[in-house]
Amino acid sequence: MISVEKLEFTEGVPVVILVTHGKAGEGLIESAEMIMGPMENVVAISLMPGQDPADYRGEIEKVLDSTSNPALILADLFCGTPSNSAAILSSARNIVAVSGLSLPMLIEAVNMRGNLSIDELAKVVIEAAQDGVKDIVEALNAID
């Protein structure tokens, strides 16, 4: 299920596509907007229970085909159906996709997409996501 009614994207702004089991992507967009304000060119494609994987891939292709902007796919779980969908599509088209979707990853993608090529963007979002994983109390105790 695609989170937006109309696939109309602002020219020149890379599109961030969240691919997740269920509506995790839609929820994450809401969370990100609490911090970032309204975000354009971000769309969630939710894999619904019982949905045929080929059908789901078709939804991703529909979004990709709707724009000539570069696109960065962010998948929740490495080797889950959404992630595998991106992998399978990569045999036929240029796909830039990162797994391990999290709020810091999404925020970084939106913050940095104006400055970087899509491949560079993929690298920085990986780093941002990894940097976001910390033991909170340990980090606190490390501050004098």
Partner: protein, 163 residues
């Protein structure tokens, strides 16, 4: 001598943490995905092989290739987790020489005609027929998603398909 520690039916084949749990549980050091269709598709093979935990070798092979290799050298000294994608493919393997003694139905998703029988495992009437065939042949069948779950017997769940 190699041994088959677990034969699992899972429509998702190898997927992340569930397979990692089973590998630890049975101390497997090799995964075989037995699927005729997949074995013919070099690209898709890579997609599925990517899901294996790092360090665990994966072979994706047809039933015939598995049986031949098994009869030849039992995969050396490996302790194997064998995965196939459906009840039908497990029956097909059995009918084509795969040494099936114990079968775990671990993951089968929804679809038309499919009924949820235990946790999130579904069966349809053809599956029940195939499982009964295997059971009559002496195969022991359980339903279990992860090692922490209590396994359910085939007899205890099959009635739900006809309710």
């Amino acid at each position: 001598m190699g041994r088959i520690a677990l034969v699992r039916i899972d429509s998702r084949l190898i997927h992340g943490q569930v397979v990692a749990k089973w590998i630890r549980q049975i101390n497997a050091n090799g995964i075989v995905v037995m699927d005729d269709e997949l074995s013919q598709d070099p690209f898709l093979k890579r997609v599925y092989a990517m899901a294996a935990p790092p360090g665990t070798p994966v072979n994706i092979m047809s039933v015939a290739a598995f049986v031949e290799r098994w009869n030849k050298d039992q995969f050396g000294n490996r302790t194997l987790l064998v995965i196939c994608r459906s009840v039908a493919s497990a029956r097909y393997a059995y009918e084509n020489g795969f040494p099936l003694e114990n079968l775990q139905v671990g993951g089968l998703g929804g679809g038309s005609g499919r009924v949820n029988v235990y946790q999130n495992i579904t069966l349809d009437e053809k599956d029940v027929e195939d499982l009964e065939f295997l059971q009559k042949g002496g195969v022991k069948i359980i339903f279990q998603t992860i090692p922490e779950d209590t396994p359910a017997s085939f007899d205890s769940v099959k009635g739900k398909v006809f309710e």
